[in-house]
Every structure is written in C-alpha cells, then in structure tokens.
C-alpha cells in the first residue's frame, strides 16, 4: 500500500496539467470535477497510505520511495524521492483532506467568477507543490515545493487581477517571502558546501556528527533556515504580506494562508530539528520570534474591521504559538497545533467566506450584524471555530494543542516563565478578538440584507470541519486528564522527545486551569461588543487616545510605513538616480545605431524599378572593371 505514495502528489499535478492544457475547452462542471476530484482521490490515497503506515509500520518507521535521480553534477545528485515518516503522514493527510474540503467549497464559492478553470488549475498546482514540500527527501526538492507554493500563493492572491490592488498585494507577498527564500537558499548552499549532501537524513546525521553544539556553522545554517521559515510563515519581521494576502478569494485564504502554506516554516524547522538542537541560541530566537509575533498579531487583530484581516492576524498569531513550541523543543506539540489549527482556521475562513458571499461581498464587520438567524450554519461553524481558536476548555481541539504549547513553554528545559506568560496573555487576547468577531458579526442589529444562501457544497465542508475542530484534540490529552496520547507516541517515532523539567509547575494542571480561565475571561470581556450599542462603540472609538492606539494597531504597528520609508522609497530613489548612469548610453547608443542603419536600408527600397536597374547596371560595371583591370 505504501508504494502508492507517489500517486498522492501526482494526482493534483495531473489535474493541473489537464486543466492547463484544456483551459478554454472545459466547461465549469468539468473543471470542478477535475479540480476537486483529483484532490479528493489524492486524499483517499493519502488515507490508505496513512492507515497502512500505522497498521503495519515499515522498518525503522520510515518509508522511502526513490523515483529517479533529478540530475547529477559536481557531486550534487539530488533524487526525486519521497520520505514518509510520522510527521509527513500527518501533514499529507491534513493537506489532502482539508484541501479537498476547500476545493469542494470552492466549486460553489467561485461559480459566478470568471477564470473558474484557471482557479482550479492554480489550486491543484498548489496542492501538488505543498505535497512535494512535505514529502521531499532532500532539501532541494523541498525547495522546489517551497517555491511552487510561493508561486501559487502569488497567482492566487492576484487572482481577481482586474483590480490593481489585488495585483499589488500578490506582488508584495511574493517579494517579502522572497527575502526569506533567499536566506533559505543561502542556508542550503552553506549546508551543501560543508556537509556535501542535501538529502535530509544524511545531512542531519552529518551535522550531528561534525558540528558541536553551538558551533558557528550550525548557528549560521539554523539562522538562515529560520529566515526562510519566518518569511513563509509570516512571523516578525517579515509578517507584513499576510494581511494584504487576504485580497485573494476566501478559499485561497483558507487553504494557503491559514491551513497549509504558512505552516511550511513550522514544517521546515521541525524537519531540520537536529540543526536547531545544535544551535540553542537560534532556538531561543525562534521562541522569542514566536512569542513576540503572537502578541503583536493579537493586538492588531483587536483593531481590524475587515473580517478576513482579523483572521489573517489570528493565523499569524497561532503560527507564533507553533514557533514558540518549536523554540522550546516541543516539536510534536507544534505539529499537533498545526493539525488542529488547520481544522479550525480553515473552518473560520470558510464560514467567513459564506458570510461575505451571502452579503454580496461585504468585508466590514461593522456593516454585518444579526446574522445568527439568517445564516445558522455559518453561525454555528463560526462559534465552533472561534471557541477552538480561543481554546475554550475541554470541548475544543484548540484547547488541547494550545494548552500543550503553553505548558511546554514553561515545562521544557528550554522554557521560561516569560514565554509562558506571553503565551498566556496571547491566549486572553485571542479569546477577546475571536469573540468580538462573533458578537459583532452575528449578534446585534442586522445592517446588510442577506442576498444569497450557501448550498450543500459550501455547507458540507463547514460541518465536517466543525466536527474535526471539536474532536480533533482528543488524540493527545494532557497528563492531568489521564495518559491518552496516541499522537505523541506516533510523532515520537519521527521527532525527538521533549526534555521536561521534572515536577514542573506546568504539568500540575494549574497552568491548564489558567489557560481555561483566560479563555473564559476573554469571552466575558468581549461581551462589551455585545451589550454596548453601536453608537457607544462609536463614541469610544472617537475619543483621541483609543482612536490613535486603534489606528496604530489597525495598521499593524506601522510596519508597512516603516518598510516603505526604510526600503521601498530609497530603492525607488536610487533606481531613478541610476537611470542616467554611464552604462545606459552604451546600450541606448547601440539601439540608436541600429535604428539609423534600418532607416538607410529602408530608404534604398524605394520601389522604383528603374533605380534598381541602374544600381544593378552600375554594380555590373564595377564588377567587370574589377575583373578586367585587375
């Protein structure tokens, strides 16, 4: 059964090829069947492979499938090979399964848009690239997938390309993530020159053998990989592209900018955990980046009034939690949170998409309101998603994964109280903004009429993801609830175990109690948006101090302004100045010379037959004279 592994990425890739070749010749129905069907089949195969992997584990709990050698030059011979271990099983199943649900949702969501086939073409290419990324056996193949998903992200953010703003947003996402990608590729060069291979397992073994803990190479390599991860996962300081990426269609935001692509950085760090173990300083940096980002994004989310931007900042914040877990060596905890986050954040985005579509494209939450009776499924889905995001105790999946990260941030030998406190405060803020969203959108007075209701292809994914958001956390219960943690055992085959401080305060259940408490307190605080009338809120917002603060948070703490002035404007200025340098005339002179030659030759072609004859005659005389008088 494991031999079917290559089919998982091949199916969406084939879907992409078919859609690309038959682009204009396909009807909407055919495009939807090919686009969603290829990912659906891929999900079925992924489930088969996962079941067979769990039921009869391959030797060493690793299955490697070599397809062919990509190229062989200068000692570098990367293979097109897939590497399946416990971690990639989780990623592959989540990507294909959530991906299929989102494709199914898109078949209805996009049905009135032009470029229907093009949309599924890009989406299939994305799923294929993402699967290559998580299955890659060597870092070069991983990088291929990494760039593939970046390309698809760019294409899909700018999907509605008739609006120039969307195109700018896509360009921004591409360029900002490109900064991280450059760091990543330099990291790959460094690893290859030092360890002479890019295959991940030999590379990790070589690094562990040759580099002592804290050695310069290990720190440099880990820092460069972290740069790549920070760009892709929208962490500080390369986070500015993610809120603007919401310009794309909502299913794209759900699939790429919430569930899968943005977690590629988490995957990369977990996959190369040996390097990060060798570089404790960089790991501390990972934890700090994660904590700062999660707090930063929480404050930003509090001030947004575009429903999708709230969710974008919450994604940034939840990935911050994953980075925090990675930073304190809680590798498995990060993967656990990736899984539950994929469920509840995809759910939130899809529910938000249903709301936006029903209101005829309205994004502003203060123009929504009172939708809980009109759109009951979206309402309940949103409640489940928000509860899971806010880590409502016991019943939601988000609680188990987030609580595990909060406990780990204190209980790990690398953890400390500051990280723990940051995570806890972040949890409180998350709860506030999540339920602010719920209360403003679904309660109060109705502001905009509902013009369209979602049908089954949009509702089914909401139900399925709601169910997963509720039960998805029961695969890893905390210590104080009993010892039931199959996911930990499963991931333990692929990732090193967490070293904990013996008898830490974190594992007594008090920390979990606090996590639960802040979640409930957050909802209680958020009720201010429920009871206060809209007018009172307006008055509050009109006062100068909160207003200025809100502006500051709304604009993401001015990072866009800062980057505009520090990087964009100087570069533009330099480009303008450098336009008239010395190199320019050399090239424009060449062009001018060509134009003049063209003019001269063109003038000789005057169409008068007698001139041609005269020229031919003169030529003949010259040749004759030359031959005779020589």
């Amino acid at each position: 059964m494991l031999q079917l592994l290559w089919i998982i990425p091949a199916l969406p890739a084939a879907g992409f090829v078919v859609l690309a070749l038959l682009n204009r010749h396909l009807g909407r129905r055919a495009a939807a069947v090919i686009g969603a069907g290829s990912v659906g089949l891929s999900a079925v195969v992924a489930l088969l492979v996962a079941v067979s992997f769990i039921a009869s584990p391959p030797p060493g709990d690793v299955y490697r499938q070599v397809l062919w050698t990509w190229f062989d030059t200068g000692g570098l011979a990367p293979q097109i090979a897939f590497y399946l271990d416990a971690m990639s099983v989780i990623f592959v199943v989540v990507i294909t399964f959530v991906g299929f649900l989102i494709h199914l949702y898109s078949t209805e969501f996009m049905e009135r848009d032009e470029g229907y086939t093009r949309f599924f073409m890009y989406m299939n290419l994305f799923v294929a690239s993402m699967l290559v990324l998580v299955l890659a056996d060597n870092l070069l193949l991983l990088y291929l997938g990494w760039e593939g998903v970046g390309l698809c992200s760019y294409l899909l953010i700018s999907f509605w390309q008739r609006d120039l703003q969307n195109v700018y947003a896509g360009r921004k996402a591409f360029i900002v993530t490109r900064i991280g990608d450059t760091a990543l590729i330099i990291g790959l060069f460094l690893l290859f020159t030092q360890l002479h291979t890019l295959a991940i397992q030999p590379l990790m073994a070589g690094a562990a053998k040759e580099w002592p803990v804290g050695s310069g190479f290990a720190v440099a390599a880990a820092a460069l990989l972290l740069g790549g991860a920070v760009g892709k996962s929208a962490q500080l300081p390369l986070q500015t592209w993610l809120p603007d990426a919401m310009a794309g269609p909502t299913p794209v935001s759900a699939l790429i900018h919430a569930a899968t692509m943005v977690t590629a950085g988490v995957y990369l760090i977990a996959r190369t955990n040996v390097l990060f173990t060798l570089a404790p300083d960089v790991r501390l940096a990972v934890a700090i980046v994660g904590t700062v980002t999660l707090l930063y994004a929480c404050f930003c989310a509090l001030a947004q009034h575009d429903i999708k931007r709230v969710l974008a900042y919450s994604t940034m914040s939840q990935i911050g939690y994953m980075f925090l877990a990675l930073g304190v060596a809680g590798w498995s905890a990060a993967i656990f949170h990736f899984m539950t986050h994929a469920f509840f954040k995809a759910l939130l985005f899809l529910a938000a998409g249903a709301v936006i579509e029903s209101l005829g494209g309205e994004h502003d939450i203060f123009k929504m309101g009172g939708l809980r009776r009109k759109l009951p499924t979206a309402f309940w889905a949103f409640i489940v998603g928000a509860a899971s995001l806010a880590a409502m105790p016991l019943v939601t999946s988000g609680f188990y994964s987030k609580d595990l990260i909060i406990e780990t941030s204190l209980g790990s030998v690398d953890g400390n109280a500051w990280l723990w406190l940051g995570a806890l405060v972040g949890s409180l803020l998350t709860s506030i903004y999540a339920f602010r969203l719920v209360f403003v959108v679904f309660f109060g007075d109705q502001q905009t009429p509902v013009t369209r209701r979602p049908r089954w292809r949009m509702l089914l994914p909401l139900w399925v993801l709601s169910a997963l958001s509720l039960i998805g956390g029961f695969v890893w219960l905390p210590e104080w609830m009993g010892s039931f943690h199959p996911l930990e055992n499963f991931l333990g085959e692929a990732l090193p175990p967490l070293k904990t401080v013996a008898s830490s305060f974190a594992y007594t259940g008090v920390s979990a109690l606090l996590t639960s408490l802040v979640a409930v307190v957050g909802v209680a605080l958020a009720t201010v948006w429920l009871v206060e009338s809209r007018a009172a809120l307006g008055d509050f917002a009109a006062r100068p101090t909160p207003h200025a603060l809100q502006e500051f948070w709304l604009n993401g703490w001015g990072f866009d302004w800062l980057y505009e002035h520090v990087f964009v404007i100087p570069v533009k200025w330099f480009a303008r100045v450098a336009r008239n340098d010395l190199v320019e005339p050399a090239f424009s002179g060449l062009a001018w010379l060509n134009v003049q030659a063209w003019r001269a030759l063109s003038a000789s072609q005057n169409g008068v037959l007698r001139v041609y004859i005269a020229v031919a005659g003169v030529g003949l005389v010259v040749i004759l004279a030359f031959v005779v008088l020589r």
Partner: protein, 102 residues
Amino acid sequence: MAAVSLDHGLILAAILFVIGFVGLLTRRNLIVVLACIEIMLNAAGLAFVVAGARWGRADGQVMFLFVLAMAAAEVAVGLALAIRFRQSLGRLDVDDADEMKG
C-alpha cells in the same frame, strides 16, 4: 564578301547593348521597356554570332537560337504583364509600380 572583323562585331554589339540599357533607364512606357530588353538580348545574340564566326564554329549560331526562344518567352510574359498592369493601374508608366517600397 569582306569578312566583318571580330572587333567591329563586338563594338556593334556593345553599342546596341548600351542603347538598350539607356532606354531601359530613361523610358517609362512599359512597351518601350520591353523593346529595350529585346535590343539588349539581340546585342548579346550578335556577340555570340560574331564570336562563332571568328572561330568558324556553329556554337554561336546555336546559342542565338536559344536567345531567340528566350526572347519570345520573355515577350509573351512581358506583354501579359503589360496587360495586367494596364488593367490595374490604368496607365503603362513603370514608375507607378512602386508599391513595394520599404
């Protein structure tokens, strides 16, 4: 019968060729242009005949027959062109046919 020397024959051929060529350059009527080409062809034919007589061989006269056949074909095509020319442009001025200028 006094034999015509080779030099005289070739000079006559050259004069005929130049007359035809100058006519080609200066006249604009298509019929006259065709006539000038005929003159130039005959100049070439005369050169062949004179040269054949000089060496006492038949090759020159054989070549002249070829030239005659070619001249007939050329006139047939040329006159057909002249008719089409007249039909499409209304006149027979070769300078009118300058639509191919670059």
